[in-house]
Each structure stands twice: as C-alpha cells, then as structure tokens.
Symmetry: C2
Subunit: 180 residues, 2 copies
C-alpha cells in the first residue's frame, strides 16, 4: 500500500566496515524519479532490561559513553551477539552488568532507535523477579550499578543524568504499569 513512498536502490557503496557498525551509502531513486543518497549505519541490534529489585527499586547502570564524552545512567543493555536470541542476550546482559539473574523476563516491546540513519533495533524486557547472581563484567567494561526509586529516576531525567531514549521509555513504562 506504500509503493508511492518507496525508494529503489540504484547502487550501494560500503564506506566503513567496523567492529560494531558498518556504514554504507545507497544511491536511491525517489518516487518522483529524482535520485538521492542515503547514508546508512548497520548495527547488530540490542537488548535492554527494565528490572525491579524485591524492594521495588529500578536497576540502573552508569557508564561512559564515548560518543557523548560523558557518563549517563541507563537501564542495563547491550548489543546482540552474532545469531544470539534476544531473550538470551537480555538475561546475559542483565547478569553481566548488575549481578542479578532472572528467568522471568517479560517481553515489553521492540523499537528502532534512529530510523533516519540506522537500523539499530532495541528489544526491551521487564522483570521484577530477580535473584542474586554475580557481576561478571567483561574486564574491559566499566559500569557503576545503581538501585533507585522511580521518583529518584524521574529526578535523574531532570538533571540529565538519565538522557537516553530507552531509559526515558522505561520510566514512563513503570509509571503506566504502576497505574494498572
């Protein structure tokens, strides 16, 4: 039903092949017959977990994000490994980053983060069924673990410590869930 919006690929040039992302430039034919270029970042996809402790606190991690040249505070998350099933990845990242385990992750939603220039998709899970495990951070991964109330998480949006899309989504999700 949307053929009148379609952009046909005329040529595709890979301009960068990296460890995490690849970048290509596609020449496309627009619906009006004109040509244009589209810059596209290919990303393996990611998972993120909205996790509440038995006390009802939200698990968050502070980490340095090189693209922003600062630390921000996010829900636990990580990239999908090759051929890894998202649910498996979510369990793995939760334990690696927080030391908590869960076998009861509930799928919430998936969304593309930057559809204008990237194909990164994030799969979001929820759990309030955590058991103590062990932090097994990669030796080259550095994160601080935080456990905060929903009210304190909302304050961290105002102070811009929380500053990313998936965590902003997570906090609204919890507010809505509390209303149920």
């Amino acid at each position: 039903m949307s053929e009148h919006l379609y952009e046909k690929t005329i040529a595709s040039t890979t301009v960068y092949e990296g460890k995490v992302i690849d970048v290509k430039v596609d020449d496309v034919k627009l619906p009006n017959g004109h040509t244009s270029k589209r810059e596209i970042v290919n990303h393996p996809g990611a998972v993120a977990v909205i996790a509440l402790t038995p006390e009802g606190n939200l698990l968050l991690v502070r980490q340095f994000r090189k693209p922003l040249e600062r630390t921000i505070v996010e829900i636990p998350a990580g990239k999908l490994e090759l051929n890894e099933e998202p649910l498996h990845s979510a369990k793995r990242e939760l334990e690696e980053e927080t030391g908590y385990r869960s076998n009861q992750l509930e799928f919430v939603t998936s969304f593309y983060t930057s559809p204008g220039f990237a194909d990164e998709i994030v799969h979001i899970y929820f759990t309030d069924q955590l058991t103590a495990g062990h932090v097994q951070t990669d030796e080259d991964e550095f994160v601080d673990l935080l456990e905060v109330t929903l009210e304190d998480a909302e304050k961290m949006i105002e102070t811009k410590e929380i500053f990313d899309a998936k965590t902003a989504f997570a906090i609204q999700y919890l507010r809505l869930r509390k209303d149920i």
Copy 2:
C-alpha cells in the same frame, strides 16, 4: 565523580564525512589502562512533535526509511539545520510534514537515541494548539499524513507500523498526560 569510568582519547580518525553523518574511530585508554576502539557516528540532532488536532487525534506521518527498507509511521520529526534553534526547527518540521502550524509548542524532553555509537539527540515538543497551514514538503520528501486516535496509535505498535523509539515514547507520554 565518574573519573573511574572515563575513556581518554589517544587518537581519532575520521573514516567517513557525509551529508548527514560523519563517522570516526577513536582509540581510547580504558580505566584499567588497556586500549580499545570506539566507533562513533556524529549526527546534527533532531526534533519531533507530539501534536494533537482539535478533535484530539494524534498527527503521524508514514515514510519510507531506507535503513529499514520499509515504511514506518512516526510522529513528525526532522533534522536540525546548521545553527538552528530546536524550537524553530520543530515548528518548521511540523508545518512542512503535516501542514499544521503551532506557536505553542511545549518542550517535553530531550534524549540521545543510541548513546552506544551515536551522538544523535532528539528534542521532543508537545502541542494541542494547531492552526491550519500548508504542507510545504521538500519536493524530494515523501510522506503520508495520518490523524489517529490514541487507541489506534497503540494498535499500530502491535502491528509494527509504529516501530521507533520517539513514537513509542510519545504514545506513553499521551497515556500519562491523559491520566493527569
């Protein structure tokens, strides 16, 4: 307070300079003294508008997203132009994509969309004060305008027509706002 997480840049190499994005690879020194590489996409930033018509319907646009090779349905949005103030950009994009004008855009929040690999930030505005204007789409921009109830927008998440972070955030925002 977060020096123990800091990643110092040792070297930075630009690997792609494009129309919308630039890509660089930074060599960094990790907190444990090891070195690593960070792939970073620089993006000019964007705005998006959560806009309700006088009837209480949400303005959405369907467009083809080349990175996804499909159309998705999103709240009206667009890139910041050079040195453009986000509020001005939001007004401009709203009118260009939907034909509606508003001089009463309320700032909602800003968030980074993909802090792991990109510095794209999206500034989100809300309005329920629209006046009729004219669709002034760039001749090479193709979008379908939709006006839907919040309930129908929620169904479009289930059918994966709505599939991006800012629009998922917008729908939660409206649900929470309705509860106020």
